[in-house]
């Protein structure tokens, strides 16, 4: 520390002596907070992945004994190494919750919005460093509570990650709806606070702290994606909070917002007039925008990485912005497609079919624009680029099956089957995780001042995409065969016999995929301390973050904040004669227009 301090001293006028606590723990510096988010999310992701392996063992080899299950879950939840029915539901629930909220919402937005917003728009930090710090610590607290909920005696929440009442509201209905569910709800409420603090900060920073010349139409697509994501979060998470609060009231204070006419486990309740469907409306009003809260940052990161590594401007910059805005807007009026079979009025269902299928148009535009960006490019295969190409593939593969699910008439047949599980794991799980990996590989030099190992990146990518598709692609066949999701085993029904083979195949791929992540973890942590030292602009990129010094300084730039003179995608821009300007295939945003050069 002393050394780095001495090093920065003669550059940085704002710099002052920092203690360990203020630098690494209660840091208000966006770059440190971003790293805190990333490390926490990686930890949560590893936990959630292990949970999925536990239940994949049960699904692949039903009712067989595995020593590893009793080691981790104990004799209570895995007697004799066989997973118990209740714990199966608990694992599924916590796996989903952690992956959706803690890895892909907190981890993805938290890490990259924090890192890139100030750096790419040319700001010294977030609008409020304090709120930013608070946002991380709420996130950390909610993570701890969520993990802790797995250790209570009655087990974690067991109602699925969507925790539909009355199952989640009545502790008589399932073990996990006792203390485990209370902790889940408390954790979620705190998580929502974290997300709101973060999102407000991102919006304010983007609107107010852009450097000179950084017009909205000159912002990198990453920033546009983070901007719309933050708006979605601010508008939709409070609705989930209200759903959670009402559920807490039903559970604890005897209200009946969601309860009516119930006899549970032989006990007659006197709740009347509530509606369980009300909860679903509130939940999915967040739940659907949530899909795009997860996906848009990944698409934003990928847009940037694909342009940089294709050495070519992103095709249709304005169309890309337009499609982000369209997706953001439409995501608020499609939530009912999760509820086609709840007994909702068929007319209303029809409206949701229409709005949902409309989303396919901006999504298709994005895909075609990515593909056109690659066309006649000069593609440099960094690991980040590999994952970005992977993302486009999974976005296509997962996206098209959404067309089936959006069609209410077809949804009747495949709703809540493995077809859905396959669909959302490819489009939301794989795509978003690929976006996150791409982001980590690409911006690692900016986060830690060192490079990650490329060869291991390749190995990581190929094993991950092969096992990822190996896991989730066959699930469509399991679902079309008629297998409902969240079943403890599929051996009770003869018509599902062919899914037993497939489930085994899926489990094998899942285990390979999980082991492949060890390569990433080793590469990541090794490179933090021992990786090759990075240079200022290793990827020859145009955006402002690559004009900052390699080692982190408060305020990001030693001198004045650079001014912006052009859009961020001047890659391989030819002059009047068709030659590259200055003989280089990139022109950073802070380079003034040359004589005779036209702005984009």
């Amino acid at each position: 520390m002393a050394a780095s301090h001495a090093h920065n001293d003669h550059h940085d006028h704002h710099h002052h002596e920092e203690s360990f606590v203020s630098k690494y723990i209660f840091s208000m510096d966006h770059k440190m907070i971003s790293k805190q988010f990333l490390i926490t999310a990686i930890f949560m992701g590893v936990v959630a992945m292990m949970l999925s392996i536990f239940f994949r063992l049960q699904l692949g080899w039903p009712n067989e004994s595995f020593g590893i299950l009793s080691t981790f879950l104990g004799e209570k939840w895995a007697p004799g190494g066989v997973l118990s029915e209740n714990m199966y539901l608990g694992l599924v629930t916590i796996h989903g919750t952690i992956m959706v909220f803690f890895l892909l919402t907190g981890g993805l937005s938290g890490t990259f919005s924090n890192l890139l917003i100030p750096l790419q728009i040319g700001a010294r930090d977030m609008a409020s460093g304090f709120l930013n710090m608070l946002s991380f610590w709420f996130f950390a607290l909610s993570s701890v509570i969520m993990l802790f909920s797995m250790f209570v005696e009655s087990g974690p929440a067991m109602a699925g990650w969507t925790i539909y009442p009355p199952l989640s509201a009545l502790e008589q209905a399932v073990d996990g709806s006792g203390l485990g569910m209370t902790l889940w709800l408390v954790s979620m409420a705190i998580f929502i606070a974290s997300s709101l603090l973060g999102s407000l900060n991102y919006i304010v920073t983007i609107l107010n702290l852009r450097t000179v010349g950084m017009k909205m139409t000159r912002m990198p697509l990453t920033i546009w994606a983070f901007f719309v994501t933050a708006i979605l979060g601010v508008l939709s998470f409070p609705v989930l909070l209200s759903a959670v609060l009402l559920l807490i009231m039903d559970r604890t204070f005897g209200t009946s917002f969601y309860l009516s006419d119930i006899i549970v486990n032989g006990e007659m309740l006197d709740s009347t007039g509530g509606s369980p469907i009300l909860y679903q409306h509130l939940f999915w009003f967040l739940g659907h925008p949530e899909v795009y809260i997860v996906l848009l940052p990944a698409l934003g990161l990928t847009s940037e990485i694909i342009a940089t590594n294709s050495r070519k401007p992103i095709f249709g910059y304005r169309a890309m912005i337009g499609s982000i805005l369209a997706i953001g807007f439409l995501s608020f009026i499609v939530w009912g497609h999760h509820m086609f079979v709840t007994g909702m009025n068929p007319f209303l269902g029809g409206v949701f079919v229409f709005t949902t299928l409309l989303i396919a148009i901006p999504s298709a535009v994005k895909v075609f624009n990515y593909i056109t960006t690659l066309w006649k490019g000069n593609i440099r295969y960094t690991p980040a680029m590999m994952f970005s190409v992977g993302l486009v593939s999974t976005f296509i593969t997962g996206g098209v099956t959404g067309i089936i699910l959006a069609d209410s008439a077809l949804d009747i047949a495949v709703h809540d089957t493995y077809f859905v599980v396959g669909h959302f794991h490819i489009v939301m799980g794989m795509s978003a995780v690929f976006g996150m990996f791409a982001g980590v590989y690409h911006w690692f030099p900016k986060m830690y001042g060192r490079m990650m190992n490329t060869k291991m990146g390749y190995a990581h990518f190929w094993l991950t995409i092969v096992s990822g598709y190996g896991v989730f692609f066959p699930m469509h066949y399991v679902g079309l065969n008629g297998a409902p999701r969240r079943y403890y085993n599929y051996t009770n029904f003869e018509f599902l016999d062919q899914t037993i083979d497939l489930n085994q195949l899926i489990s094998i791929f899942a285990i390979i995929g999980a082991l492949a992540q060890i390569i990433f973890l080793v590469n990541f942590f090794y490179s933090i301390w021992r990786g090759q030292k990075a240079t200022e602009n290793p990827w020859k990129s145009n955006t402002l973050e690559w004009t900052t010094p390699v080692e982190h300084v408060h305020g990001n730039w030693h001198g004045a904040i650079p001014e912006v003179h052009r859009w961020p995608y001047d890659y391989s821009k030819p002059d009047a004669d068709g030659n590259l300007w200055d003989g280089k295939d990139f022109t950073p945003q802070n380079v003034p227009l040359r004589p005779g050069e036209e702005d984009h």
Partner: protein
């Protein structure tokens, strides 16, 4: 011991990878290579792998479709009128999305292969093209318009089936609870499903509203209130504080439920009570769902505790069952169990499953469905006669179909003597001797 060895192997493995990394880093440092400089060899290698991956992916897709796509993905043909439309639309959509999937992935991986980095090349400056963008906004829009229109048409046909015989629809209620289904038929006399109130399931086995269930329930509440009050009066000094409060709470709850029940039934006139009792008395519970091919069934779904979902995959039918909010679905079966067994194997049975997470027994909650060709098919008449209505008699007693009753008395119908006797009694009590004689003579004349 095993675990220790596994742990050691994992740790050694990680250390091994780290050492390899270290060696690699030292070697690259010696050569002066930077991590961000991707060599031509690496670029072309990864580009080639992209194509290899694409081919392998397509082969995987083809193999899965070949091995697991047959006989409608192993599920068999749709066995209902709306299900046939669903399958037609599903096929169409699957073809469309398969085409899009192949087209886009192929373009992606082919471009990824073709345009890998070469020093001497320059990327083509192509920031936008309004015409191109217009094309790929409009074409998906047109395709989606077709999908939406066909989808909504099928949706309307499914939800509001146009059926000349809709007035003759048989009404069935499916009632879900952890972890079983209950099935109630509207009955043979009036066909109407009687209304329910969950509060009645206190002292009664059913929650259907009848004269007697109301009286039994009120008496049961009175008794329960008295029991708890006695407990409090007699043992108050021995009760722990929490126990006292709990008992008090119970009494209040019973009183609340009882007063609601009274408020509900207060306005019931004798005539009204009689008429709803009449509607209820012919309803009967069954442990299997028996359906007749070509007959329209109007299902009503309710739930006792948590949300479940009535899922009949072979009929392409699914509807959530929600406590407090009845839901509906109408369906006409088109394939009998016997016909389906020819396609699916001898042990095949149509099934009702639960498809909404509902607790530990979620995965084994099921009920068999049997579809008969006609009422005269083997098994139907026996099953019907063996049930008991809420009024306490066999639903067979309500049958007024002289043709069917005559058939139950013929020699070659395969019914057991016991069943024959049940129907004989019905036949004789519902139709006079002359009427029967005339019908039988007519049948003999027609050679039946």
């Amino acid at each position: 011991m095993d675990r220790l060895i596994i742990l050691i192997v994992v740790i050694l493995g990680i250390i091994g990878i780290a050492q390899l990394l270290r060696n690699y880093e030292l070697a690259t440092a010696l050569r002066g290579r930077r991590e961000e400089d991707i060599s031509h060899k690496d670029n072309s290698m990864q580009a080639t792998l992209m194509i290899v991956f694409m081919v392998a992916f397509y082969v995987f897709f083809a193999w899965l479709s070949y091995a697991y796509g047959g006989n409608r993905f192993g599920l068999g043909p749709a066995a209902s009128v709306h299900g046939e439309q669903t399958d037609w639309l599903l096929d169409l959509n699957l073809w469309i999305i398969t085409a899009v999937f192949l087209l886009c992935n192929t373009l992606l991986f082919v471009f990824a292969f073709k345009y890998f980095y070469r020093e001497d090349r320059q990327a083509y400056w192509f920031p936008h093209d309004n015409k191109l963008e217009m094309i790929w906004t409009v074409i998906p829009a047109i395709v989606l318009a077709v999908i939406i229109i066909l989808g909504l048409k099928t949706w309307v046909n499914t939800m509001y089936p146009e059926d000349a015989d809709s007035s003759k629809a048989v009404k069935i209620e499916l009632y879900s609870k952890q972890f079983a289904w209950e099935c109630r038929y509207g009955g043979e006399a009036n066909g109407e499903l009687a209304n329910n109130d969950y509060k009645l399931k206190f002292g009664n086995t059913t929650d259907v509203i009848t004269d007697s269930t109301i009286n039994v329930a009120i008496a049961s509440y009175d008794e329960a209130i008295k029991k708890e009050t006695d407990k409090m009066n007699n043992n108050a000094e021995f009760m722990a504080d929490w126990e006292f409060k709990e008992t008090e709470g119970k009494i209040w709850k019973y009183k609340r439920i009882r007063s609601r029940l009274l408020a509900m039934t207060d306005g019931y006139s004798k005539e009204h009570l009689d008429s709803i009792t009449k509607i209820a008395n012919d309803d009967y519970y069954a442990t299997e769902i028996h359906l007749i091919k070509g007959q329209r069934y109007d299902f009503r779904f309710r739930s006792m505790d948590v949300i479940h979902s009535a899922y009949m995959p072979h009929f392409r039918l699914q509807m959530n069952t929600v406590p407090g909010e009845p839901t509906r679905f109408s369906m006409t079966p088109t394939i009998t169990t016997k016909e389906m067994r020819k396609i699916m194997g001898e042990n095949f049975n149509f099934l009702l499953l639960c498809n909404k997470i509902c607790g530990s027994g979620h995965y084994k909650m099921k009920m068999d469905i049997i579809v008969h060709d006609t009422k005269k098919s083997a098994g139907y008449a026996e099953w019907l006669a063996a049930n008991t209505t809420i009024g306490g008699y066999s639903p067979a007693n309500d049958i007024n179909d002289i043709d069917f009753l005559y058939w139950t008395q013929t020699a070659e119908n395969g019914l057991t003597d016991e069943t024959k006797a049940v129907y004989k009694a019905v036949y004789e009590s519902n139709f006079g001797a002359e009427e029967r004689k005339a019908f039988e003579a007519q049948q003999v004349k027609e050679g039946k």
